[in-house]
């Protein structure tokens, strides 16, 4: 077995072999050992609030149908006809009691049960008595604070056990709102011509913040002359199971209760009230954390929840080693006041998303990494050592412990597969 990750704690050096970003064989192993076995984010419960609501989702390379069935259960159905395989639901979202495959007109209730088909007399009386002609559901679908996940491994540990220490940080985001969070319309579907793991790294990498996003911070400084020097200070933390977080002071306005001078005086008063309410609910210390600190969270392998100048969740999946599909969500308090919501959304768009002042530069950085990996034969290793010298328990947010946590888990999961000749599910 070739060594892919060198974790040398004596030398304080952490190296990742660049073949993991370029080799098709590695992608096959990742599918088998990671995407077929880990909990993968599928969406948020507020996307399908009513019975009959459904939304098509691509998760772990599958075509799924996230549906709020008539019996009240939320299911993830494989969007394929049990008869001959055609995609059943073709609209991206909607509300329906029945799904009908257009090919031979088999129809299914919104819990997946076969409801009828033409020419029934051509089939035996006990046809489908074992349920094998129903639309199949993913066996494992579990949720935490409204975030829904699926797992294609029936033997997997529970979602809560899997999330472990990461739950605390999801709570800090969800606790911003007494009414709960909701997903906004217009989920951003984009892509990056780079390996998926580069986005996992980038999303919890504060070290790149100033050099890559200087133009954004220039704008922030011009808006708020009070910020003499933008600082990005805080802690990096390994949360176990490959999850990690960086928590740091916010040099920008946060729509939770940290006002910034580009916002109105009324908004300032509202935000003061919000903060008071947070203190009532959670006490001074936790209220400070919720309102005034940013958190970038990676949930292994492919969910990022960034509670920064707004809340975004992004998930991504590789269709080839050098290309990933990304879905970017925005989450906000339900029934948020209109002016607050506008301030939040402007904050989001200024930095985040394919049209923001920052995300496209991240995209470019990732693509330049991928392009230059064609030098892999001669230049083989990435360095992810920053902060090891301080000791992992003293990691700063601008260190690289978040990425090392991801890679250590990656190593555990992939090593098993490396003993096998080819990837096996």
């Amino acid at each position: 077995m070739e060594e892919l990750i060198r974790d040398n704690r004596e030398k304080n050096e952490f190296l990742v072999h660049r073949s993991v970003f370029t080799e098709k064989e590695m992608l096959a192993r990742e599918r088998a050992e990671i995407f077929n076995k880990c909990w993968l984010f599928i969406g948020h419960e507020t996307e399908i609030p009513e019975k009959g609501d459904y939304k098509r989702k691509k998760v772990g390379g599958r075509n799924l149908l996230l549906v709020h069935s008539q019996d009240g259960e939320i299911r993830a159905l494989y969007n394929t006809c049990p008869h001959r395989g055609a995609l059943v639901a073709r609209e991206n979202e909607g509300n329906s009691r029945v799904f009908r495959c257009f090919y031979h007109a088999w129809s299914f209730k919104n819990d997946g049960e076969l409801n009828g088909m033409p020419g029934k007399d051509g089939f035996p009386d006990d046809f489908n008595c074992d349920g094998s002609k129903n639309m199949k559901a993913v066996n494992r679908l579990e949720g935490y604070r409204g975030f829904l996940f699926v797992n294609f491994d029936d033997e997997a540990i529970s979602l809560e056990e899997y999330l472990g220490n990461a739950k605390e940080y999801i709570d800090l985001a969800a606790d911003q709102s007494e009414a709960g969070l909701e997903v906004l319309g217009g989920v951003q579907q984009y892509s990056v011509r780079a390996n998926w793991k580069l986005l996992a790294e980038n999303s919890v990498d504060l070290y790149h913040g100033m050099p890559t996003h200087k133009t954004y911070f220039d704008i922030k400084q011009a808006q708020d002359p009070g910020i003499k020097r933008v600082k990005l200070e805080g802690k990096g933390k390994d949360l176990g199971n490959g999850h990690a977080v960086m928590e740091y002071v916010a040099p920008w306005g946060r729509p939770v209760a940290q006002w910034t001078p580009i916002w109105s005086e009324e908004l300032k008063q509202d935000m003061d009230k919000m903060k008071e309410r947070l203190v009532e609910r959670f006490g001074e210390e936790r209220a400070d954390r919720i309102a005034n600190y940013n958190r970038n969270i990676i949930i292994f392998p492919n969910l990022v929840i960034n509670d920064i100048m707004a809340i975004t969740a992004r998930t991504f999946y590789p269709s080839s080693p050098g290309y990933m599909e990304v879905s970017g969500y925005s989450l906000a308090p339900k029934r948020e006041d209109e002016e607050h919501r506008m301030a939040r959304n402007n904050n989001f768009l200024e930095f985040l998303g394919p049209g923001g002042f920052a995300t496209p530069d991240d995209n470019e950085a990732l693509e330049l990494c991928q392009e230059a990996y064609n030098n892999n034969q001669e230049v083989q290793w990435n360095d992810i050592s920053k902060g090891m010298v301080r000791g992992e328990e003293n990691a700063m947010a601008t260190d690289e412990i978040q990425m090392r946590s991801f890679w250590r888990q990656y190593k555990v999961r992939i090593e098993e597969s490396m003993k096998k000749e080819v990837a096996q599910t």
Binding site: G186, Y190, I219, L349, G355, T359, N363, E364
Partner: protein, 162 residues
């Protein structure tokens, strides 16, 4: 130029000038085409009439933000567009209405090609402008870009001004 003498051709020439400024990376000059209350917006794909409070836009710029956008893209640290990509914008099927009124509305189809590092991406869709007369010339009061795409794949970003 007065209301009485303004022709469809004047409006079309103005739009071609806008496209040319963008293709030549004269972005400050582009921003200067807007009125003081000018806006530039790109609603979510498939939701052209979405509300900016309920849905996430790609771009929702007021006059200040569109100026910041233009100036940012000219900096060397706007990495995604440094070195600048090569772009080519075509406007087609231009429909001008309200020539005699205070606000002229223009709809046109657009095709914007962008190439960088030998990868060509093409954005297609419909622009809707509100144009007014100002200081003896024309100015953009609003520009709304509706993308006619399924998603931003494989483009991955809207780093350009569309």
């Amino acid at each position: 130029m007065t209301v009485a003498t303004l022709t469809r051709q004047d409006v079309v020439d103005f739009l071609y000038k806008e496209a040319q400024l963008l293709d030549e990376w004269k972005l400050k000059e582009w921003a200067a085409l807007f009125t003081d209350d000018g806006t530039y917006k790109i609603p979510p794909i498939g939701e052209p009439e979405a509300s900016p409070t309920e849905s996430l836009f790609y771009v929702h710029d007021n006059r200040t933000r569109l100026q910041e956008r233009a100036e940012r893209l000219l900096k060397k640290e706007a990495h995604v567009e440094y070195p600048h990509s090569i772009t080519l914008r075509n406007y087609h099927n231009i429909l001008v209405s309200g020539l005699g009124s205070d606000v002229i509305t223009v709809e046109c189809n657009f095709t914007t090609h962008r190439t960088k590092r030998e990868v060509l991406d093409t954005f297609i869709g419909k622009h809707t402008y509100e144009i007014v007369q100002q200081n003896g010339g024309l100015a953009i009061k609003s520009k709304k870009v509706v993308l006619y795409l399924d998603s931003l794949r494989p483009h991955g970003k809207i780093s350009l001004i569309l």
